[in-house]
Amino acid sequence: MKFSFSKILKEIEKKASLINRPLTFMELCGTHSQTIAAFGLKKILPKNLSLIAGPGCPVCVTSQRDVESVAGLALAGIPIATYGDTLKIFDTSVLLKKNRGSQIDISVVYDITEALRLKSQKPNLVFWGIGFETTAPMSAWAIKKGLTVYSTHKKFFPAMKTLLQNRELKIDGFINPGHVSAITGTKIYENLKFPQVVAGFEPEDVLQAISWLLDQIISKKPRVQNEYKRVVKREGNKRAQKIIQEVFEVKDSFWRGLGKIKKSGLVIRKKYRAQDAEYVYSQLLRKIRKKIILPPSACQCGKILQGIYRPQECPLFAKICQPENPQGPCMVSVEGACHIEYKYGEK
């Protein structure tokens, strides 16, 4: 049966009017934000229902300390490889700005096997592993194959718990990430006792998730529903989970905007420390980190990542901060809330 947009929109309209108070749902994946913006969904939703972007953009939540650490490694002459979406974050690096003109070697790879191939040409190559449970299994696999990795991989679920503890933030439901959930499964969300729907990335998926979240609020039965069954299972991808656990251990991690989140970082285990850039270059990294002094910036990425501010509320947005001249990671990444708002939003 063909999906009817007008039908689901009517349903959403009806349910939202039944609840009759302002409602805010947070979409937790950068790709959700893209779908919402690309299809202009905010414009057609009921007035009392708003959507805000959460910390679902891996590049955005990476701390500046990590950005500067990798930049420092590059300045020390170590060849770096990373994913394309990460490349532009180096434009925000204070260390690189200070050392303008130095030769650095940063390659972009489309997938991890390309990084392994590059390593055969550049033996001291360091791959910057970035992303949630979606990209962590690939890094784990490559570490076992001998790739040296600087890991800023993070577990996503701890961030959701942190968001709910923030009293500044009023969220009525989560649209849970599709790709992350494909790895983790939906079971881990169950003890949160909060309205959640795992959703795919078509506009149909997002609207269905919104409709179900409204149902949960009306019936006062918060739970986890899975709209993305064609990809996501309750148990998740066991093989991927296993390799993550085998190679990484879970430690506290610093997130941009959200601060230190307990047990959210994926750190390379001792067994594989010959492949851990943090270990291999520990002395160098210590020196680099001593040099990091971050100048004050009016960039509001931190607040935007928590859903407290919208991009337009940042004084830099669309003024000096644009995709060609990003002032913070939310404008750098194609999945960042500011980048998406700039690209699709009303100007």
Binding site: F39, G40, K43, P58, I106, P177, E324
Partner: protein, 329 residues
Amino acid sequence: MEKNNERRIEIAHGSGGKKSVELIGEIRKILREGSSWKNTDDDGAVFEWKGKKLVFTTDAFIVDPIFFPGGDIGKLATCGTINDLAMMGAQPLGLSLSLVIEEGFSWQNLRKIIRSINQISQKEKVPIVTGDTKVTEKGKLDKIEITTAGVGIAQFVLSNEGAQAGDLVITSGDLGKHGAALLAKRFGSVNEIKSDCQPLNRPIKKVAPFLTSAKDPTRGGLAAVLNEVAEKSKVKIVLDEDKIPFQKEVSALASLLGIDKLALPSEGRFVATVSARQAKKVVNCLKKFNRQAGVIGRVEKGKGVYLKTKVGTLRKVETPEGKLIPRIC
């Protein structure tokens, strides 16, 4: 791709978007203009000669991988220049062929590339009339670079400035297969997508007199090309998402990688504008070459390019900023 601290040429400067415009602008600032050649900012220049219009174009080709499903760098270099001439309404007379080859390149692969150049040249009756070869030291170049130039004669020159409110936007076939095939190959993804690389001089010749503008959506895809047409013709273009033909596998790959399929390049398709009155005739004619040819949108008064989404909302389609970047989330 290497990144550096000073202001240097970035990979995005070669991606057909805003930055490419900046790069060409910088070059033209230094080059002194002023000649009998007319350059309309299309892909070639025009010289009026004894009542005829001589069109001249050139293009350099690098591609990774050099062999891809549906073609290779040789086919691409030949079709590319034939198509640049065809898009200006010119019948190609002949091409030049320059090869820069990396030391150590295999003879077998070179022969394969030259054979595919020959195949297109024979089939389309566009001879390779002159050329040059250079070999660089190993490591100074990635395998091979090909430059072709071409000369053609046009009765009248097709440009991008002629689209008018009321016209319809048409495509000569389904879009994005070249970009998708290359991306798929880079990711080692196994699928059915073959590049759409092919010469366009025959189909366009049949319909050229009826078109108000025409352009092949190569770098930057449909998004880049239609923004160019809208800007130069001073009109607004509204596309209908449901009507733009994409092979199912192309859509699936784009959605998997988080890439906008409107920005995926095609190497054997054109998009054109045509008056509403002539549209049916033109589309029927194009359907003989490709059954997916059809109307994909309309031209209105105003500016910019918009997409009427399947949800019913209208979204702005921007010129892509740089390289297509897959998501990591």
